[in-house]
Amino acid sequence: MKFTRRDFLKTALSGTIASVLPLGGLRILKPGEVRAEIEKTNVRWGFLVDTYKCVGCGFCVKACKLENEVPYDAPVTRTWIERYVILKDGRVFADTPMGGRDGFVSLKVRETEIKPADIAKAFFVPKLCNQCEKPPCVQVCPVGATYQRADGVVLVDRSWCIGCGYCIMACPYGVRFFHPVYRTAEKCTFCIHRLVKGMKTACVQACPFGARQVGNLKDLNDPITKVILNERVAVLKDEYGTKPQVYYLGLDKNVR
């Protein structure tokens, strides 16, 4: 019989687990749970948005809608781009027509025509689910249809959601909506179906400028973890105590 290194590790691992379990003492974990526990210690998906790089083309929104089958012409979307225009007199204009799906091609913000000479600064901010460490949306679901995976991603079980909308009310970021076809709560999933296959999310892949990046926050060698650790990054609305896990480079105080 050959005893490979893999076999050795396997045996050692199950041996360790087996010896720890009786001490932990309360219940025997199923194999799936053990795997989940191990994964838990290895992966925490996070996101990095570099607002300096975003040009507001909306490719990510398009890609997301197609990838995740959110009706293309519905005004709801899992991810969106906001445009902020701050004038020299201090006034702030912001908009997100169709979630920025078709890009920003007009100098009009809603009804107001903006003169380029008046602009002090202008920029774009991509938004998506923050996969909060303490997600209030999960807390309030009365039937447990929305839940958090061990790797941090918050998902909705379409076969279980009763469509009460409590989670939509509870999310401070306005991320959730009812899926127009399934009529269940819908949100950005970090394209978890792609991540688990080793691919990038649809929006990351579609962004021609590298403004969006996804990675494993538990891996210190991951490019986005390095940036988050070494650069000055910010998160959205941290006053709600949700511990959001989408980090922004170049976030402005005017961003809502």
Partner: protein, 413 residues
């Protein structure tokens, strides 16, 4: 566009809002706390007789108990109509997720309905037995069915001796006593559903459950006073029109009626003061502390919703009935006007909380308006429009009529 975007039809947006924001909680969520509030109020009134022995409320007690049950059965209806998947609604009972305030609904609701149902059973047990025995040998299919229903309702307990009935009395008293805090809890937790949403700047306050309980008692007392007056008017009408001599005259009834209404209105005024004080405290506190959200809240409270809040809710719904109730020389007609206004005020309060809480965007730089669908053109605009609200409003009366066929609560001897 493929599919149906929930909220799109009745929401208009102004200035900068997130793309996914709509009025997701509409008229049915206004109806829900209104209904549970009435349930609590009606039950408290029936308990006044059973627990505190207010003899003059004897007829009222039976009525408000059965009516409270009808209201209770109708109370989950707005929740159900509001769900996108109503058929999965039972999951709240079967797979509750206990960190959610809504999941408590199943437990509180069942506990409370068990209490009310068993209290009704004890109150009517003697009647069930009598009916079952009387209908036993009668001919006719209808009598057979009725007899069968009553036989089932007796649950096999045919003992109606003095002693047994004494025991019933005791059970009723205990149930009515336990029911009061549970009724308040049923409603207080409805306030918690809103008060605990930290994402909503208007809703998030620990005062919310207390404010809800106070206004629930106000609405409950008002509705019961109103129905009491209606029943008394009916009684007077019966005395006037019937040929047979009654032991009471119209004047007797009138005197007793006015006396009781005057007494009860004191409680009503008291609870109104408590409710308004709490609401104003909340408002003053928000204005004084003026945290980040205050700018947008102020523009909603003093601007967009000014008419709804200060004219309709506080003016018409609180101040005017307050004056009407306190002016000397009360008359029944004035009381009726005041009570209708009080009920309207409580409805507006629910509206201003539920719809007002969604009138501003999470961006704090935009607004949303709810246009209640009047004439439905699909199932959504029916459910979450005026028609759906009317159905919910009428439902308790239909249920009450049906219950009354089996447990007559309006018979006078």
């Amino acid at each position: 566009m493929e599919g149906y975007v929930h909220g799109l039809e009745w929401t208009t947006k102004e200035l900068f809002t997130y793309p996914n924001e709509f009025i997701y909680w509409s008229i049915q969520i206004v109806m829900y706390p209104l209904m549970t509030g009435l349930v609590a109020g009606a039950f408290v009134l029936s308990s006044l007789y059973h627990v505190f022995g207010q003899k003059d409320l004897k007829d009222m007690a039976k009525f408000s108990l059965v009516f409270s049950f009808a209201l209770l059965i109708a109370a989950p209806m707005p929740l159900l109509l509001h769900l996108q998947h109503p058929l999965r609604g039972t999951e709240v009972f079967f797979t509750p997720h206990f960190t959610s305030a809504i999941s408590a609904f199943g437990i509180v609701f069942f506990t409370y309905s068990m209490i009310v149902a068993s209290e009704i059973w004890f109150v009517y047990r003697k009647f069930f037995v009598e009916q079952a025995l009387e209908l036993k040998d009668k001919e006719g299919i209808l009598n057979k069915i009725k007899g069968c229903i009553y036989r089932i309702l007796t649950l096999g307990a045919y003992d109606i001796s003095e002693e047994a009935l004494k025991k019933d009395e005791k059970a009723i008293k205990i149930l009515a006593g336990v029911g009061i805090p549970v009724a308040c809890f049923l409603h207080g937790y409805a306030g918690f559903i809103f008060g605990s949403v930290k994402a909503n700047a208007l809703w998030m306050t620990p005062l919310m459950p207390v404010i809800f309980i106070m206004s629930a008692i106000v609405s409950g007392i008002a509705l019961c006073m109103l129905t009491y007056i209606l029943i008394m008017e009916w009684k007077k009408f019966r005395i006037k029109t019937s040929k047979k001599p009654w032991e009471l005259t119209v004047e007797d009834v009138k005197g007793a009626e006015l006396e009781l209404i005057r007494k009860t209105s004191k409680y009503l005024v008291g609870f109104m003061i408590a409710a308004i004080t709490l609401e104003l405290l909340d408002l003053v506190f928000r204005g004084y502390t003026a945290v980040k959200s205050w700018d947008i809240l102020r523009s909603v409270i003093y601007g967009k919703d000014f008419v709804n809040i200060f004219i309709l809710q506080y003016g018409l719904g609180n101040l005017l009935p307050f004056v009407l109730l306190l002016l000397p020389k009360a008359s029944i007609r004035r009381m009726v006007i005041a009570l209708v206004l009080v009920l309207f005020g409580v409805f507006m309060m629910r509206w201003n909380v539920v719809i007002g809480g969604q009138a501003f965007s999470l961006t704090f730089s935009g607004y949303m308006h709810y246009h209640i669908p009047i004439i439905p053109h699909n199932i959504e605009t029916f459910k979450e429009g005026l028609m759906g609200a009317l159905v919910v409003g009428v439902m308790p009366f239909v249920l009450f009529w049906a219950f009354n066929k089996i447990v007559p609560s309006l018979k006078y001897k």
